[in-house]
């Protein structure tokens, strides 16, 4: 029971339990027939929110007011431009990925430049940036729907040993994120900045450098997610990033990361992402229409926040 007591104190355990409960409730209705299919679909769709959510988590860790609203626009632009560059040729897969990462780097640099140079709150800086990035995406897209190269389309839609490939990518990135957060000095730095920026500065932590890297990281992860999502869904669409604005914030918060910053964890993102997808598919299984499904999703997010949150002051 001691180990259970320790487990119950972990902030991420709740999102995992919620995900499991919803998974179980869905399986019960279908009589266990779709267990494998449901689990695979959940891992696939959760993978995108996980990748985006990790980036957002790093940003939120930086403390009150830090949030990246340019995530959806970055995803859309990266997906659009990468697909356009690859032009259905298999040989261009790597350059496509590089371009997506470059776009992420550019958006990240832009975001932090605005925050630093104009001394405006990150929400406003990333909001203005996202307007511009979104426009660039509309301009490059022009209603065209270019198919992804067949290698990538196959890779993103198939599985290895029963686990979807995109989930494996998300797992790899999560491991890196976990090492960065828990084992590296950078992870200590951003937690320290989130807990008290003034104290971090006095302790000699390179605050600006660490914040800059964090915004870069978030934008790059968003662009990688956009690249994968565009390949997975058979082409980039202008609204493809839209739902990930809420998603990236929701999974971080439901996952047990303190919204006020300074405390974060990677496993919670997984539990929360799986939970968010499973809720939608559970409501689908029960045959509930789009309107009610949206309402239920909203109410569930709010109730999870009410149960989980409400200790620390700080973030709006």
């Amino acid at each position: 029971m001691i180990s259970f007591g320790n487990l119950a104190r972990k902030p991420w355990i709740w999102s995992w339990m919620a995900a499991f409960l919803v998974w179980f409730a869905t399986i019960m209705v279908t009589g266990g027939a779709s267990t494998l299919g449901l689990s695979q679909a959940a891992l696939t769709f959760a993978a995108f929110s996980i990748i985006v959510g990790i980036g957002q988590m790093f940003v939120i860790t930086l403390g009150p007011g830090n949030i990246d609203l340019s995530v959806p626009a970055t995803m859309t632009l990266a997906g659009t431009v990468a697909l356009k560059l690859m032009n259905v040729e298999n040989g261009m897969v790597v350059p496509g990925l590089l371009v997506a990462v470059l776009i992420g780097l550019a958006v990240g640099v832009g975001n932090y430049a605005l925050i630093k140079a104009l001394r405006i709150p990150p929400i406003i800086a990333t909001l203005s940036m996202s307007f511009i990035v979104q426009s660039a995406a509309i301009w490059t897209n022009r209603g065209l729907r270019i198919k992804p190269p067949s290698v990538l389309a196959d890779f993103t839609t198939s599985s290895t040993l029963g686990v979807p490939n995109v989930a494996l990518v998300a797992l790899g990135l999560s491991l890196i994120a976990w090492v960065l957060l828990e084992k590296s000095v950078y992870g200590r730095w951003i937690s320290a900045i989130g807990q008290s920026m003034a104290a971090a500065r006095m302790a000699g932590i390179p605050v600006d450098g660490a914040r800059f890297v964090t915004y870069l990281l978030c934008a790059v992860l968003a662009s990688v997610a956009g690249y994968l999502l565009a390949c997975f869904s058979g082409g980039a669409a202008l609204n493809m990033g839209a739902e990930y604005l809420l998603m990236s914030i929701a999974v971080v918060v439901i996952g047990g990361t303190a919204v006020a910053g300074g405390y974060s964890n990677v496993p919670g993102i997984w539990g929360a992402s799986l939970f968010m997808f499973l809720v939608v598919s559970m409501l689908n299984t029960y045959g509930i229409g789009a309107g009610v499904r949206l309402i239920m999703t909203g109410l569930i997010i709010i109730s999870v926040i009410m149960l989980a949150g409400g200790r620390r002051t700080g973030m709006r």
Partner: protein
């Protein structure tokens, strides 16, 4: 200060300047816009945006952020185009209930100490779901009185300008001149001292959110008056536009420092930015981008302005 202006008035200088410059540029590119009809065409879509911006401003005044405004205005638009036309009493009750929910959310966010961003994002799902239930496909029709209100042609000035001025004055009186407004801004400035002074934080927050709900309802009704029909996604972009409008108008993110007149000017500026591009014959693809660019330019100007002010203050 040397000019004898209050700091509130100084706050309005940059927004007013940027709107004037943009308006002058539009007139220069298209002199025919300088008419009763032209101005109305140019600015009438700004009326609902201005109302939504005031709503967002009220929430920002208590240091929160409302990410559900776009979905809420869409929801109100759907109610207006269906219930408010066919069964005015039911429609009014629904809208009143929605305002009540807004106030309730403000209280819940405070009592449970929740992040407003996440709660309002969750609410945006709820409003969007309700809107889809009412109007699964675009449709409905604006009530006649709403249509009349938005298309009436007052003498001297077009409706868009009259409405903007009325909105600015009403919001100014509520937020800057009434004791309730002072209380709301006080909560944003220093919640603790307001509480110690014996005021009820719960009431102040409920009032701020409730008023925001009222203005957002007005935004939805005005929008339907212009478009004549509604759609569940009609106003989704209002969320980001309203935040941008508040900031453009000299409002600040924390500390309860907001400016209702500035917010209306900010909304007008954002609307003008779109028309300006089309007069320049630049592809409408860049319309959102231009709004972002204007936001950045104005914020940069404000920084320079503040620095000059500071240098003048300490010679």
């Amino acid at each position: 200060m040397k000019l004898g202006l209050t700091s509130d008035a100084m706050r309005l200088v940059i927004p007013a300047l940027s709107m004037t410059v943009l308006l002058a540029a539009v007139f220069w590119l298209q002199p025919r816009a300088m008419s009763y009809f032209g101005l109305n065409l140019l600015l009438n879509l700004a009326v609902p945006i201005a109302l939504a911006t005031i709503a967002q401003m009220l929430v920002m005044a208590v240091n929160d952020l409302d990410l559900s405004i776009g979905a809420f205005v869409s929801f109100v638009a759907c109610v207006t185009a269906t219930f408010l036309r066919d069964a005015p009493l039911v429609g009014t009750l629904i809208l009143a209930g929605a305002v009540g929910i807004y106030a309730l959310i403000g209280v819940v966010i405070y009592l449970r100490n929740l992040p407003s961003i996440v709660v309002t994002l969750g609410m945006s799902f709820v409003w969007a779901g309700l809107a889809v239930l009412m109007l699964p496909a675009p449709g409905g029709q604006a009530p006649d009185w709403v249509r009349w209100l938005m298309t009436v042609k007052p003498p001297l000035m077009p409706m868009a300008i009259v409405a903007s001025i009325v909105i600015a004055i009403v919001a100014h009186l509520i937020v800057m001149r009434s004791s309730l407004g002072v209380l709301i801004r006080g909560v944003g400035g220093n919640q603790r001292s307001v509480e110690r002074a014996g005021w009820s934080i719960i009431a102040a927050r409920a009032a701020a959110y409730g008023l925001a709900g009222v203005f957002a309802v007005a935004a939805g009704i005005a929008l339907v008056g212009l478009t004549t029909s509604a759609d569940a996604n009609i106003a989704l972009r209002y969320t980001l536009l309203s935040i941008a409008g508040v900031i453009l108008g000299g409002g600040e993110f924390t500390g309860g420092r907001v400016s209702p007149i500035g917010a209306v000017i900010g909304a007008l500026t954002l609307t003008l930015a779109g028309s300006f591009l089309s007069f320049l014959r630049i592809s409408p693809d860049w319309q959102i981008g231009a709004q972002g660019a204007i936001l950045i330019i104005v914020l940069a100007l404000r920084l320079v302005f503040n620095r000059v002010e500071k240098r003048r203050a300490q010679p």
